[in-house]
């Protein structure tokens, strides 16, 4: 028997992923920055939020700020960390940027483990401040949390939509399509990317970090490993890189499919087999979607253009145009 509160919890997780996927889409889909360090930024947002809001006399002491203050503070801290990572990493192109963000995410996780006096180390933090928790009964709270997360997801969607239709969004997609040409039309691609990366950090800190913490109810560093990054990337690729509603649909679909496995009842001795099925399902979903819709379920072309022509092989042309375009075919 499926309990309603289980469904509410799964839906909450799906919406947290939907927020993260939309922000990754802003950064990677439109901004052309293939960031493999999303989990690191989410970790910074989550830990900042908890440390800002926990009571000063808790086991892992915090500053005791109210929830809203904690969210904004987490946003600012995450934006600063993103700027710090972006400053060296954004000097690199394509694959090299990707690898270095991946490394930074791992460094952040290791720092959380090492700094156990501040972060609780591998033992983690077992108490977090959640909005309106005292006002509701224990068994009603999952639905309250679902409602709050849904509101935040809508806010993130509206923010991303506005960016998509703005001069900034246009400039960003242009710089992604053809970096040398964007520079030749007067765009400082470097500062554009730097501000985009910090902006994404800000939004992850305000929305994704705290919402993820509320969902989890506790914090341990292992949550923020590479698996989290790849789950969000998988959701983005399934939904359609560069599209508007795609990231939301991708995240909901991915979470729905992989959490549905938990509903299957098996004998305890087979439970480990079941947990192995989950990542396999994600892989199968990814393969099936990419086999029949190489650009994902939704495409950027459909999201933006009024011509309605569908371009095949979206992923191929997402690759940034390098210096080869400057140098032409010859010397």
């Amino acid at each position: 028997m499926i309990s309603m509160s289980f469904l509410a919890t799964v839906a909450t997780l799906a919406l947290v992923y939907a927020m993260a996927t939309q922000l990754l889409n802003l950064e990677a889909g439109w901004g052309g920055m293939w960031d493999l360090g999303v989990a690191g930024l989410i970790a910074v947002g989550a830990y900042s939020y908890v440390l800002l809001t926990s009571a000063p006399d808790a086991m892992v002491p915090g500053l005791g700020l109210p929830i809203l203050g904690g969210m904004i503070g987490a946003g600012i801290i995450t934006a600063l960390v993103a700027a710090l990572i972006g400053w060296p990493a954004l000097r690199l192109r394509g694959e090299y940027f990707l690898i270095s963000t991946f490394a930074f995410a791992e460094i952040i996780r290791q720092l959380i483990i090492i700094g156990k006096d501040v972060t609780g180390g591998t033992f983690g933090i077992t108490f977090v401040k959640r909005p309106f928790e005292q006002a509701f009964r224990f068994d009603a709270y999952p639905f309250v949390l679902l409602g709050i997360t849904a509101v935040l997801t809508v806010v993130v969607y509206l923010i991303c939509s506005r960016v998509a239709g703005s001069v900034y969004g246009m400039t960003m997609r242009a710089a992604r399509d053809n970096e040398p040409l964007a520079m030749a039309t007067g765009t400082s691609v470097k500062s554009l990317r730097m501000s985009t990366y910090s902006f994404v950090g800000l939004l992850i800190g305000i929305f994704v970090g705290p919402a993820f913490v509320w969902f989890l109810g506790a914090l341990v560093p292992s949550t923020f490993g590479a698996t989290l990054t790849f789950t969000i990337w998988a959701a983005l690729v399934i939904g359609g890189l560069g599209s508007r509603i795609g990231p939301v649909v991708g995240a909901l679909l991915l979470t729905g499919v992989s959490e549905a496995v938990r509903l299957i009842e098996v004998a305890p001795q087979q439970a480990h087999l079941l947990s192995a099925v989950q990542p396999a399902l994600v892989g199968i979903l990814l393969i099936v979607v990419l086999r029949f819709r190489p650009g994902g379920l939704f495409t950027e072309q459909k999201s933006f253009a009024r011509t309605g022509t569908d371009v095949k092989g979206e992923l191929k042309r997402m690759r940034p145009v390098g210096m080869a375009a400057v140098n032409g075919g010859e010397a």
Binding site: I159, R162, V163, G165, S166, V167, Y168, G169, M170, T171, M172, R173, A174, D177, N178, P180, L181, A182, M183, A184, T185, G186, T187, S188, V189, L192, S195, T196, S198, F199, G242, E300, Q301, F304, A305, R306, T307, T309, V311, R317, V321, M323, A325, V326, N327, G328, G329, E330, A331
Partner: protein, 264 residues
Amino acid sequence: MSEAPDRPMLTLREVNKAFGGVQAVRDVNLSIDSSKVTALIGPNGAGKTTLFNVISGFGTPYTGKIAFGDVDLTGWAPHKVARAGVVRTFQTPIGFPSMTVAENIAVAIVGQGLGNPWSPFLRWRQDRKVRRDAMAEARDRLAAGGIEGLADVPGSELSPGNAKLVEITRQLALKPKMLLLDEPAAAMATDQIRTLSRLIRGIADDGVGVLVIDHNLGFVLELADTVHVLEFGAVVASGTPEQIGNDARVREIYLGGTEETDAA
């Protein structure tokens, strides 16, 4: 050769550029006038594109100086060179493939003031107006060039010839004072080349200096006011198209081994 303050001249002095041991550009001295079409010709590997990159900020000269009027452009980043009014096109006109042609041009028109994450939220009204005006201007510019039919075509679906025209239209939308055209006639049909020549002549007549690199000798000699010949990174001959066309040495080095003698 008087230089009006609003019609600056592009000057290169003793410009050198090397890649490892290969001297791609050596001791180049050039002056490119406003309101004139100046051409740079030379065989493959002569350093034409390298010289273009050095001017437009895509490569720093090893030694030497690049000045635009009183402004020293040496070592400037590409976006600053473009904002100073020295605008280039690219040999391979990929454009912005995920956008329509009209959007391709609008991107150049919107300018840089709103290109940051805060503008969509703090200056939304202005943002919307700038975008609408830019799209309207883009369509006007396409209509003026006789290619208004391309406005809604995705950038990735243009024919090579049309892509070249869109490339020039886009870069013109930046209102350059000096326009650098990297092989504009390549991949173009004969009748398109005629349209292109008229277009370029019109740009120069409006007071913009034009520097053209091209392989098509007939096109260049017919169009240019002044021609410079580059070989192994150095300027080996300069003069009017007639002088260059009749220069025995030029015929030998430039036309000797290639099949482009009959390109006219």
